[in-house]
Symmetry: C2
Subunit: 538 residues, 2 copies
């Protein structure tokens, strides 16, 4: 957790990061004498994203940080006063000044859990005015985090466990914090690393990166390195002039590849040499600035083989344009023949990294059987989630003053489930997932081995189920403002996410037209819904 | 500018908000003795977003704030040291510690300018190592800001000038900073206000908001307001029991609407009364918590008419579900008959506000001739830009050491335009836009009234053009680290954006299948491209 305690951004912690109507409602509650009335809200979504049958819960660590820091400063209260009616009772602003989250209790799905429609990701209870004010920031912190974790998990499922997946979408994010959130939660969802240095510094996400085209084009080939000498990897032995060594190798490589020695671009080669001098242990070639086959590849091979003579092994090549799969196959073939030709066995297995607008479809192609691609960098389509750029979470009042509350509305999609609830996952004897059950908090938990009658969401009739195992889903993280247990580290949550996904049956895990996983209501909860829908007493 | 000077978020100002490869390249440049070599980069996009023929430039204020604050702290350098090779020369880290933007010069399109493919939004020059490091943060700060400003401008064009447009997408943004960026630049692009209080506090964006369904559902109708008494708007006269007054009006309203007096939900009415007691000057009814026609509307009318007796005018009704256009027509009809029935003329023109997943198509429907909708709240589809969630800006090296640089590559789409450039907009005698011209910085500017030969981008042949007016597009904002002139306020940039759009011909402004606006190269720039493409000396 150490790396995560650094306060990375005040924007994320400012209590005015909220919609104005939360403040106007706060005044309304206060004026009605209800500011301190106990209330409970649930944060959930109505449909799984991307046409899939699951989502991953994420963002809790940001929520807890926000709650911990929540307190209105004088400037905040003054700003609210400037946008509320001028004759607002000053006692209201005194009340705002006194607010914090010391009365707030939070239950939530652990990060990395499977999250399903209507099952609360967060249950937030406390004084009505405060928990109302928290609506927008909590939605903002949970929705995108869960969306991108889910998106990353899908991409990981497509890529399979072996490919190394890099998130590199900072420049495509909605500003700095969007990028930080994306890097953090795409890692949680199953990526291996991020290009985003700040995510490394603040969140402990592994970071990765080598060089861009601008580095290559900045060299013309006339530059003279101030110190072209490189010592052998093992430490002993005389230093070698890498430039000269590369030029010697270039002739042999060009002869092998059937190229003229003038064809490879000298600026590109100078850039590779400069990079190799700075990173002899971690040399990677970016091959497509000029021509992959006539320039990038021979220049890479010359530098890699020169480094090899000194005992260094190049760590990879990278492609950022064109048909990535086909080029990877061709490059692997050249690496193989060169490895044989020059008797440098490690050369044939140099990792091939690719990037360039890779979406789910292209990723599937790159991950197909026999693909020679090893590392896949994804930017835009992991960060912006173009297939569904918002999860559409909502935060709904479920009880106030101990009484259940329900939004009835004429749009059945927007009806809510009333009452303070508990959630359980019911499993079969083989550990398979049967369904998620929502029931009233006051009900006894379902018992393993006992049959119970439930009402699946969206179905017209009840059914029975006999779970072999029962797991409670929601954990108490914050009680009356006090953290009850430390959050797992990001890496632990990442491992938990992969475990969660592995429990889903293939039919549920399938990314297109999956079988929907059932969420069901207990008989008591179903009866409450029916009573309130019929206009019974709230 | 006062409101904008508040440092709203450290995340936006941290120099490690960058891709790791910027740091590895920095070491490469430094090791090659090139850290301080003068270099210039251009930030631009290749295609206008959303299938349109224009974009709006935005994000410059965030870039300048970032540059001003740019300096690596000890902790930043230590983190970089932890991810760079362990034997890296300590002098490199000393160099990093000394970095700032005092050698950086920035030319840019003013915010709110029309921005076109290949025309730089930013030109950034300075020491190679520093201006390379700035790539990712500048892309991050400009791309989304320009995308959402453009998206907002499109929505404004669809809505027309009269409808009031509210951005309310904070909860759908990529975390806190995404939301803040969205609110700021959707206002710049033409929205009237945002729900995001932080955008009001930090950026001076007008904020708006009233109440949500949770406020309504939190009341059952059994609550007793601690003080139901309300003084008349004019100040004189005795205070009146608003609850009693509303109940009296409810009977008359229900009789008029043909409803039983028990039909309107008592909790909804209690919520409306509570809100009216807090906001007698700004009462708005959210009508769709239970049933618009049988509950929301009569409750609203009862409260509005009771307030009206005291001299207060309700400011609106709001709908958040169902067929918004049709309901608005029905509600307006009811408002008209009620205004006549109760002889309260202002009631018929109470603004109708709507929201609920409004996209470009639905907005066009709501803005059609005869629509009774006055205020339109848009969240997801303004903030996430679902039609194209990323602008795809790039930041490319165009010169180093005074020599032009070009990325050739086998993908013609990814080729760049070399050399330090100037950009001009050429206009006809009637002020119409002819084309945007890119030329080398060393060339004399085009002269009004003189014919010149240009090479339109994407065309195979040159053409001539005789501009009646010539406007330089890029302004010098920062010279060697010093701000040259203050930025316009956000409201001024917003006005400039609307002016910019008004100059576009309808054929270019059209949102679907518009005529593309031409960007052309000067003969000298075209010749340089040809020379470098043919492998001539760089």
């Amino acid at each position: 957790m150490a790396a995560e305690q650094d306060p990375e951004g005040r924007a994320a912690e400012r209590p005015l990061l909220t919609d104005l109507y939360q403040a106007t409602m706060a005044l309304g509650y206060w004026r009605a004498g209800r500011a301190r009335e106990p209330a409970e809200f649930e944060l959930f979504f109505r449909r799984c994203p991307f046409g899939g049958a699951f989502a991953l819960a994420a963002g809790l660590r940001d929520c807890l940080r926000f709650l911990h820091a929540f307190r209105l400063q004088d400037a905040d209260v003054q700003f609210l006063a400037s946008v509320l009616p001028p004759d607002t009772d000053p006692a209201f602003f005194e009340h705002l000044r006194s607010l914090d989250c010391s009365g707030v209790t939070v239950r939530a799905l652990p990060e990395g859990s499977l999250a399903l429609p209507s099952v609360p990701l967060l249950q937030v209870s406390g004084p009505l005015l405060v928990v109302q004010l928290l609506e927008t920031p909590l939605l903002c912190l949970v929705s995108y985090a869960s969306l991108i974790a889910t998106n990353a998990a899908r991409l990981r499922l497509i890529a399979g466990p072996e490919k190394r997946l890099l998130e590199m979408g900072l420049r495509r994010a909605q500003g700095p914090n969007g990028g930080l959130t994306a890097s953090t939660y795409s890692y949680l969802g199953g990526f291996d690393a991020s290009s985003n240095v700040l995510a490394g510094q603040l969140r402990g996400v592994p970071v990765a990166g080598t060089l861009a085209h601008s580095f290559v084009t900045s060299f013309s080939g006339t530059e003279v390195p101030p110190d072209p000498m490189l010592a052998p990897a093992a430490g002993g032995g005389p230093r070698v002039d890498l430039v000269a060594c590369v030029e010697a190798w270039l002739e042999r490589v060009c002869a092998h590849l059937g190229l003229g020695v003038q064809e490879p671009h000298p600026g590109e080669r100078a850039a590779f040499v400069a990079y190799a001098l700075a990173f002899p242990q971690a040399f990677q070639g970016l091959l497509d600035t000029y021509s992959v086959r006539r320039s990038g590849l021979p220049n890479f091979l010359a530098v890699a083989l020169a480094l090899g003579e000194l005992g260094y092994r190049a760590v990879g090549v990278r492609l950022d344009s064109g048909d990535l799969l086909q080029q990877a196959q061709e490059i692997r073939a050249h690496l193989r023949t060169s490895a044989a030709q020059f008797q440098v066995p490690w050369l044939e297995s140099v990792p091939i990294a690719v990037s360039n607008n890779i979406d789910e479809g292209e990723l599937a192609r790159l991950a197909q059987e026999g693909s020679e691609v090893n590392v896949i960098g994804i930017g835009t389509s992991v960060v912006t989630c173009p297939r569904q750029p918002s999860l559409g979470c909502v935060y709904k009042l479920v009880s106030v003053g101990g009484q259940p509350r329900m939004k009835l509305t004429e749009d059945p999609d927007k009806q809510t489930l009333p009452g303070s609830k508990a959630a359980f996952r019911l499993l079969g004897s083989d550990g398979s997932l049967l369904l998620d059950l929502l029931q009233l908090a006051e009900e006894p938990p379902p018992q393993a081995g006992q049959e119970l009658r439930v009402w699946p969401r969206g179905a017209q009739a009840s059914r029975t189920v006999r779970p072999a195992h029962v797991e409670p889903l929601l954990r108490l993280w914050v009680q009356e403002g006090q953290l009850c247990e430390p959050l797992p580290s990001l890496a632990e949550s990442r491992a938990f996410a992969q475990l969660s996904l592995s429990l889903l049956s293939p039919a549920h895990r399938r990314l297109e037209q999956p079988e929907l996983y059932q969420v069901a209501l207990s008989e008591k909860l179903q009866a409450l819904v029916a009573r309130l829908s019929a206009g019974g007493p709230q």
